[in-house]
Symmetry: C2
Subunit: 347 residues, 2 copies
């Protein structure tokens, strides 16, 4: 294959956003591949599905998070489902024509090491490698089971319960025999949670705009209190949840998406709540997908059968078109997605 | 012994404070003992040392904490070191003349079950049963070792580091081989921490009245970040600490004394910080002394030898006079104590 003939498209991250992220924070570059030849053990891949995830907005803040901010002048990092177009030397189980999960970012073509990709099972929908059977699924599965440890009959509250991670957590907690309450931002998402996920109660946070109203909604939806709170959202929803925890409750901090468009470098104010953590001897634990990176096989063994059997639904919002990547990332912060948000870039 | 001849003195809790607690929240009642005879297995005890503890102010708030608010019209609950004046029937190892630790509250005399008291070792100073070898010591020992789990060379930050619990935590962390930094509210307490406890650095929070200044002070005192934060204080000190945690830091919420005089029922606002917990995959765990109530022997086996050998100092602030109990409780919230605050009520 003549690599010089391939014209790549890349979204280069060029400017830190102060609030929303838009196409102005990126430059779309169309140019031939800079590298003209594969080294032994390398693959040429073509992106089919490209991920947009809330964590990307964290890395665009000016301050360090779990690592340094995303560098300027570089391709936006992202998980990708790609097709292998060419290989060189020993690439192990990876062959031309395979689909792989790789971290090659917002670009149409990339060269990467075979050792850095995960070969996908072609009998499962490819897009699931970015969602229920990918990073979000891993986060949901291990966050819930290693930190939340829900017991039969306990009440599990999930914020962002129609999102990529929350939708999986909510269903897994139901399968575990818990009373599960989901917080979302629209009536349509409430309907999804009730009809598709069979949740016990749902709350549209937009119906409860004050702390007092949100607290009342939580007390109504969780009459026995909250044993496990899986938090993807933060802000006022979490303010309310912290006041209604049960003894030895477990709070998983998986995301704080309500804060990403401005509150990270200069946090907004909220009511102090650590006295509630004291009273209830509750636990709060932050988790990231990377904490469980080496446990993919365990997660896949648990969730793939549930996906195949239909016991675990995996809503996806798939936007078509490479040019839509920045706008699709921003749409996450308006809750425009149901389930995993993905951009489809190849037919 | 003629119980009818005994004139008791009691501080009856009569009115919830809105801010400071004063003698106006109590009524001092002098009257004969209401019960005229011991039942089998009961003791008559005379208080010698009576405890004042920050948790009492929590229970005076209107809302539930770990239990319902302290009832009005009842003797203020408190730990006591008392002398056994009379016994009846089978009182096990407890005999007349023994000193015991009991929870008979702010009163000079009380009748209680022998099964509800702990016999004290007369070779140790009696007052230690309310401090280093009592509830605060248990809280410090198990909070630090079961939740904090400090490793040699790690940085342990302690707020309220000259207080009843903090002074023990700070010294135990030093004995564990950690870099220990103590936050206090006076230069005299800084000196104590440096000279008596051999801490690596101290901070007088009053010297750093803004979040930016406090954060800078923490970064200077903890150049390698914070691995364990043992928090007795909350508020702005904790705001700063949350921004300077290390990966997989452990935060023990043992107290939030800065908030007790008004911030519990109507919390004050502070900067949101849960994104830092996410980034660092940190853990926050609330603890109470009662969580470890059944492990007193284990704590005593560990700490009593350190007290005897002088390796563990136990500063105490002892106020004399039963009439001073309410004012002494309130003085805790001004940091007027060094180490355990105790009221001596019998010669």
């Amino acid at each position: 294959m003549d690599l010089a003939a391939i014209i790549n498209k890349q979204w280069i991250y060029t400017a830190r956003p102060t609030a929303e992220v838009t196409a102005n924070n990126y430059q779309l570059v169309t140019a031939p591949l800079t590298k003209q030849e594969l080294a032994p053990g390398e693959l040429l891949v073509q992106a089919h599905y490209i991920s947009v995830d809330p964590y990307m907005r964290i890395q665009q803040a000016a301050q360090d998070s779990w690592e340094a901010p995303h560098p300027l002048g570089a391709v936006q990092g992202a998980g990708v489902v790609a097709k292998v177009l060419a290989v060189k030397g020993d690439t192990g189980e990876i062959a031309v024509g395979d689909f792989v999960n790789c971290y090659t970012g917002w670009q149409m073509y990339a060269i990467c090491a075979a050792s850095a990709v995960r070969k996908l099972d072609p009998t499962l929908p490819l897009s699931t490698a970015l969602g229920v059977l990918g990073m979000p699924g891993r986060t949901a599965y291990f966050g819930l089971h290693t930190v939340g440890r829900p017991q039969v009959g306990e009440t599990v509250l999930v914020s962002g319960a129609a999102g990529a991670v929350g939708s999986i957590v909510a269903q897994l907690a139901k399968l575990q025999g818990c009373r599960v309450v989901g917080i979302v931002g629209s009536a349509a998402k409430q309907q999804l949670l009730q009809e598709e996920f069979n949740l016990d109660a749902t709350i549209n946070y937009k119906d409860h705009p004050t702390l007092a109203a949100m607290t009342l909604a939580l007390k109504t939806a969780c009459p026995q209190g909250i044993d496990v709170y899986f938090d993807n959202v933060g802000g006022p929803i979490t303010d309310a949840a912290m006041t209604w925890l049960n003894l030895r409750a477990r709070v998983i901090i998986c995301g704080q998406i309500s804060q990403y468009n401005g509150g990270l470098d200069n946090p907004e104010l909220g009511p102090r709540f650590l006295h509630h953590i004291l009273y209830k001897r509750a636990l709060i634990q932050g988790i990231l997908a990377r904490d469980f990176a080496d446990r993919m096989p365990e997660m896949l063994a648990a969730l793939a059968p549930l996906v195949r059997s239909g016991q675990l639904r995996y809503p996806e919002t798939i936007i078509t078109g490479f040019e839509n990547l920045p706008a699709t990332l921003n749409a996450l912060f308006y809750g425009n997605n149901t389930g995993k948000m993905i951009v489809k870039v190849s037919p």
